[in-house]
């Protein structure tokens, strides 16, 4: 297993820049997820790490070795494709043993390694079956088997659960993470599904338009989004934004939104007057008639333990996640109370988050 270091990676297809200046480090044994909408450059980045595409610029270092321009087969990595790419003309055993055959391993040893791997993935009873008859989950396990049988430096996975049914997907998310906990393989996993990313990743990089918007743990990304894009992309429903004007002074602890004073985490930098946005997750909104920030109920979405309530305010619809027991009627006027410690502030122009006390907390948490 090995560390993956990506430095100033860039890829252009003609005029189109798929990846621009990406840098990140995946530590040895880490489960790293690249998350973003389709076309954001996450798969291209993965393919460059694999050696299936050559970068236009930058460097890829795998376990201390510069592999930027090396062929895929010289990199000692394993790749799990979205469509699994199981060879239809071979049975399960031959599919899993295929990478070992390339190394010229004696057949008795291949046999043993394939059986060990199959046992690990609980597919040993399928070894002599044809791959075309397998169910989605089992195909996925065979594809994983083909990846881990060789004990490569790292695993690269390109939306490996994308084609599975929801039911299988939840199961496989769990299985993948469990497998990772057992073998501690450095893994780079690409997905557009935030649920997969949040539940499996040690670290996440959120990408958009070829740029890494934020790199961090799932918790950091959820609680302290670095940009409005990340705040909007992560979370279901996503973070709400309330617009406000004027600048911010270092040390201020209060802003004015729609005529209501809102306490915010202490601001740590001076911001010149501009269009700003207050970001708040739906679960940090409570209904409180004392609040000056008001709106009318527009609709509710019942989810069992909670409900999502859409509230029409002067600045558009705000969604709040509140306990399911609260009885609400469409058209009711409610006051909105926001949990001050959980608020994020953004510069609307650049989309960048303003430095506040929540970032200090993060630094403390990291060092403590």
């Amino acid at each position: 297993m090995a560390e993956i270091r990506v430095e100033h990676l860039r890829k252009a297809f003609g005029d189109f820049v798929a990846v621009q200046d990406s840098s990140f480090v995946v530590e040895d044994g880490e489960f790293f997820v690249m998350l973003g909408p389709s076309g954001c450059g996450k798969t291209t980045t993965l393919r460059m790490i694999a050696g299936l595409e050559l970068p236009t610029g930058g460097k890829i270092v795998l376990g201390g070795e510069d592999v930027t321009m090396r062929r895929a087969r010289e990199r000692d990595i394993a790749f799990v494709f979205q469509l699994f790419a199981l060879y239809p003309h071979m049975n399960v055993r031959k599919n899993i043993g295929f990478p070992l055959l390339a190394q010229g391993m004696p057949s008795a040893e291949i046999r043993q390694r394939v059986e060990e791997t199959a046992k690990l993935l609980r597919i040993d009873h399928l070894l002599n079956k044809s791959v075309s008859g397998l169910a989605g989950g089992d195909r996925q396990r065979v594809a994983l088997g083909r990846a881990i049988v060789r004990r490569p430096k790292c695993f690269l996975m390109d939306e490996p659960l994308g084609t599975l049914d929801t039911e299988f997907r939840d199961l496989m998310v769990h299985e993948l993470r469990e497998l990772h906990n057992r073998i501690h393989a450095t893994t780079v996993y690409v997905t557009h599904d935030q649920m997969e990313a949040m539940s499996m990743a040690d670290k996440i990089a959120v990408m958009n338009h070829g740029v890494i918007e934020q790199f961090g743990t799932p918790r950091e990304i959820y609680d302290r989004p670095a940009t409005m894009f990340v705040a909007d992309f992560i979370g279901s429903p996503p973070m709400n934004f309330l617009g406000f004007g004027g600048g911010l002074a270092k040390g201020s602890k209060e802003i004015v939104v729609q005529g209501a004073k809102v306490a915010v985490p202490e601001v740590r930098e001076d911001i010149a007057p501009a269009e700003m946005a207050l970001g708040i997750r739906p679960e940090y909104i409570r209904f409180d008639d004392a609040s000056k920030l008001r709106g009318a109920i527009y609709g509710t979405e019942y989810l069992g333990t909670t409900q999502i309530v859409a509230v029409e305010t002067a600045d558009g619809i705000i969604k709040a996640r509140v306990p399911a027991e609260i009885r609400l009627n469409t058209g009711d006027h409610v006051g909105l109370a926001l949990s001050s410690a959980r608020l994020s502030l953004f510069d609307k122009g650049s989309g960048r988050a303003v430095r506040t006390a929540i970032h200090d907390a993060a630094v403390e948490a990291r060092h403590g």
Binding site: A50, A72, R73, F81, L83, A85, P99, R146, R150
Partner: protein, 316 residues
Amino acid sequence: MSLTTAHSVVAPSANAKLIAGTIIVAYALISIVPLLWIFATSFKTPPDSIAYPPKIVFQPSLEGYCNLFTTRTRQTPEYINSLGPATGFCDETVRKRNMVIAGPSNFMPRFVNSLIIAFGSTFCAVFLGTLSAYGFSRFKVPLADDLLFFILSTRMMPPIAVAIPIYLMYRELGLSDTALGMILLYTAVNVSLAVWLLKGFIDEIPREYEEAAMIDGYTRLQAFWRTVLPQATTGIAATAIFCLIFAWNEYAFAALLTSGTAQTAPPFIPTIIGEGGQDWPAVAAGTTIFLVPILVFTILLRKQLLRGITFGAVRK
């Protein structure tokens, strides 16, 4: 309008099935009768073959096949009587017509020429076609579309239009009447078809298969050999049949460019007519044998052929 009976849109009614069946059987008969006629004629005696009205029921005879494989000379009955007893079935048969066998005919060598040239050129066309189709399918080839169009354009003119220049070139190059010359020629004609057909098939094979193999430690060539080729067999079989049928049946170039050692069966078979009267049973026997290889090849590959023909059509 009456709406009393509900018609299924998908399942044909019994009547429709009957009509369709009748049309298919009728068409099959129309197509098969000439072949059956040739087959029957090959087992007739020369007098039966030209009898009028034509004989549907007749005494089968292998005289046509004897005549096909031998050359014979006419002799007086006295001379024939002076010979010893007949050495075999054919000897006996031809003696009844006051003839003796002079030696083997050229049919076998011509048939073997056909086999060598048709299978040789098919192999070359499919081999080259597979590699170039793979290249066009997987790599960024500069001007790929123009090159593909150029390859196709070689088929836009009937090949025979260039017969005279090719005849002159072949004479200069010493390729006239050689198996190599014919193989090159048929390969050149077939390779465009092969590239286009196979490109379609290879495009359908996801490139993840080779990518997976290349990541797993194989070179591109090994990946191609072990993952692409096994999945392209259907397309390769279908392409091979098309190429083989063309090369096997080709008459015009064969008649023009081969006359002796490299002559193929198609120009040879008509020459049988001239040898001692119109020997229709021998011609029919030659034609019947000529049909066998394609028949066998097609039957052997029929599964792939059928899948191959429907494969691209259904998916796109």
